[in-house]
């Protein structure tokens, strides 16, 4: 099992947002988590990667047989958890190369491996850049500084490729992307897929799921997963909106 979330309760500033999430993701699977605005999608991804602003108030999360919630954000990353940010952060003065080299070598250090030799590192950069068609010039620039919206998202997938995570969470990766950029990003994700890796796609719209095909689709509403089905659910949501799922759920609760 890649990820097992049991009855997860979490929130921010004392306000509970996730009210008992249950989810199981197996190796090799792609899950989509959809839901209307304010349903808790971003909270869920932030809690999973250990954002310090969020507090977990109950439940358990197991990641590759380890207690995820006991780990710091960086430890989660070292163990193979990655999140593509909805709003990638600009870091003036820190070059992409320095950033990536530090990230990779810190991971290797945590796993008891030697740092990557400079030539190997450069080779790796070249190979992964090609995957998302990110020009070499970006490597000398400060992280995300002066990158366009599309370049920022491609940079997220580039970093994902560099770090070779076992579980990747794509948080609204499609937001602000035109169709060409969307295709490049999705193509990168698809090429990184393997039977050993899993992906959680968090999205408001069906659009991205045309390119990254989910195995399982969940609907998140008011901090709970209210429906789980196959990929056809995404299409149905696109067509009919969320109201019918919400009604179905509310009826069942009554």
């Amino acid at each position: 099992m890649m990820l097992k979330i049991e009855n997860l309760h979490a929130g921010i500033d004392g306000k509970e947002i996730l009210k008992g999430i249950n989810l199981e993701v197996n190796a090799g699977e792609v899950h989509a988590i959809m839901g209307p605005n304010g349903s808790g999608k971003s909270t869920m991804s932030n809690v999973l990667v250990g954002h310090p602003a969020y507090q977990v108030t109950g439940g358990k999360v197991t990641f590759k047989d380890k207690d995820l919630l006991a780990m710091s954000a960086e430890e989660r990353s070292h163990q193979g958890l990655f999140m593509s940010f909805q709003y990638p952060v600009e870091i003036p003065g820190v070059s992409m190369t320095n950033f990536m080299r530090t990230a990779i070598n810190e991971k290797r250090k945590a796993l008891g491996q030697q740092p990557l030799a400079p030539t190997e590192f450069l080779k790796l950069i070249k190979e992964k850049r090609d995957l998302v068609k990110l020009d070499a010039k970006f490597m000398n620039r400060s992280v995300n500084e002066g990158f366009s919206g599309g370049e920022k998202k491609r940079n997220e997938i580039f970093q994902m490729a560099m770090l070779e995570p076992s579980l990747s969470i794509l948080d609204e990766t499609d937001s602000g992307l035109d169709i060409d950029a969307l295709r490049i990003v999705a193509d990168g994700v698809n090429r990184l897929k393997s039977p050993e890796t899993s992906v959680i796609v968090i999205t408001h719209y069906q659009r991205l799921l045309d390119y990254i095909k989910p195995d399982i689709v969940h609907v998140l509403y008011q901090g709970r997963i209210i429906k789980t089905a196959g990929p056809e659910l995404a299409l149905e949501l696109e067509e009919r909106g969320y109201d019918w799922v919400i009604k179905e759920y509310e009826d069942s609760v009554k």
Binding site: V49, S72, V89, E106, V143
Partner: protein
């Protein structure tokens, strides 16, 4: 020790102070004393010294080496200076006494160039010394020019004649060394002819752990079309107090870069008085302070645009840890008629703790109408969003902090024209943030 005590010491030891000192220095002492009597020492009640009570630093009964006893300063220690291998012409000021390294002494300098002690300058270039010494240092402005002029017995003079370019940077390592607490009055005079060029690196170190109070007055006359770079790097210790004043007069079409780096210190006040005397000149004036514990750094700059078509650009950045305090006051005065002035001033600061404090005060006074002037100041914390982003990518929090601090001051280092120094500063700043600055290891003052 009240001001009167300094005046008494001065009066009682006048013969001793004058003995062996340059005539030009002795000639100004009475005037300086009157000025001190009139104005006193700079204290917190003055706007320019709001955050740094310099007068209090003078209260202890400092030793002064007026009879110039040999302090046996081990100059080999100078080579432990953290900015070695720059391929510089290497000189020392042991407390205030000038010495050249063996290589610098043998180096063949272009004709007419003088680099030496003020005492020697009095013998070999008395006309220059008399013509320029004490001309810029304003003893009636609140500050330490008066007391420095009263007590300074030696220091350094650099004279570069018209059209002469000294390619190699001059490195002047000042070594504070004394068995007892000591007050040192240091004086540097730089005279650059038309089109002359000079790069000067001052490295301020304290070798012994006792307390020091240094007053440093640097006067620079930059001739028309000259190029001048001054890098003033302080790496002393917690029991060190330093008040420095730089007076700079820019000739027409001259270019200057001044950088102040306070890597490690006790209490520091640096004042810069820069005057554009001729048109078409430019000044890049920058500073970095990386401080912690109870350290204090106050940089005050006053850029006086008197001439047309001059450009001044200032960038000062502070990183404050623990309960350190910082102050920056930057005044830009654009006088009537100084048209086409371009001036920008930025001061950005990061307070890493709740206990650290930063006071910043930009001041713009403009009396010309065709000018472009801007200023900005911020005080904040490290970017939490960036920090989390880095941690998500597997960079541990401590490392992420380090990288962000480094990046923050990196912008200032990027402005340093002297490339080998830039590399060196990057490494020094990193070591500083990691708490590994070698100069302070084993120094009891900083434990």
């Amino acid at each position: 020790m009240p001001v009167q005590n300094y005046i008494d010491i001065f009066s009682q030891n006048r013969a001793l102070i004058d003995k062996g000192s340059a005539g030009a220095m002795n000639a100004l002492r009475d005037k300086a004393m009157k000025s001190l009597v009139r104005n006193g020492l700079p204290h917190k009640g003055l706007e320019e010294y709001l955050h740094t009570d310099v007068a209090r630093w003078f209260e202890p009964d400092w030793g002064m080496n007026l009879s110039r006893i040999d302090m046996h300063v081990d100059k080999a220690q100078a080579f432990k200076c953290n900015v070695p291998n720059l391929s510089t012409l290497f000189y020392f000021l042991a407390n205030d006494e000038f010495a050249a390294s063996d290589t610098a002494a043998k180096a063949s300098l272009p004709d007419g160039v003088f680099i030496g002690s003020l005492r020697e300058a009095a013998n070999r270039h008395s006309e220059i010394l008399e013509g320029y010494y004490g001309r810029l240092a304003d003893m009636d402005r609140p500050g330490i020019a008066a007391i420095n002029t009263m007590f300074a017995q030696d220091g350094m003079m650099i004279y570069v004649p018209d059209g002469v370019i000294i390619e190699k940077p001059l490195q002047l390592v000042t070594l504070l060394h004394s068995p007892v607490d000591l007050m040192v009055n240091r004086r540097i005079l730089v005279v650059l002819g038309r089109g002359a060029q000079l790069k000067l690196l001052l490295c301020d170190h304290a070798l012994t752990g006792n307390a020091f109070l240094t007053t440093q007055v640097v006067e620079v006359f930059a001739g028309d079309g000259s190029g001048f770079e001054l890098y003033d790097l302080e790496e002393t210790h917690n029991a060190n107090m330093r008040v420095s004043e730089l007076y700079l007069s820019h000739g027409a079409d001259s270019k200057a870069e001044i950088d102040y780096v306070t890597l490690h210190n006790g209490q520091t006040r640096n004042s810069v008085f820069s005057t554009f005397a001729g048109r078409g000149s430019s000044l890049s004036l920058n500073g970095i302070a990386t401080i912690d514990k109870e350290q204090h750094v106050d940089n005050m700059t006053f850029v006086d645009h008197r001439a047309q078509d001059c450009t001044s650009s200032e960038l000062f950045k502070y990183v404050l840890n623990d309960s350190s305090t910082g102050a920056f006051a930057g005044k830009v005065l654009v006088r009537h008629g100084a048209q086409h002035t371009v001036s920008e001033q930025t001061n950005r600061n990061i307070c890493l703790t709740r206990e650290s404090r930063m006071f910043t005060q930009p001041q713009l006074e403009i009396y010309a109408d065709d000018v472009k002037c801007s200023h900005g100041a911020t005080v904040g914390q490290l970017d939490e969003k960036a920090m989390f982003y880095m941690r998500q990518r597997g960079i541990p929090q401590a490392e992420a902090r380090m990288m962000l601090m480094q990046a923050f001051v990196g912008e200032v280092i990027g402005r340093v024209a002297l490339e080998p120094l830039r590399d060196r500063l990057n490494r020094l700043v990193e070591k500083r943030f990691r708490g590994e600055l070698s100069q302070c290891e084993g120094c009891r003052a900083c434990r």
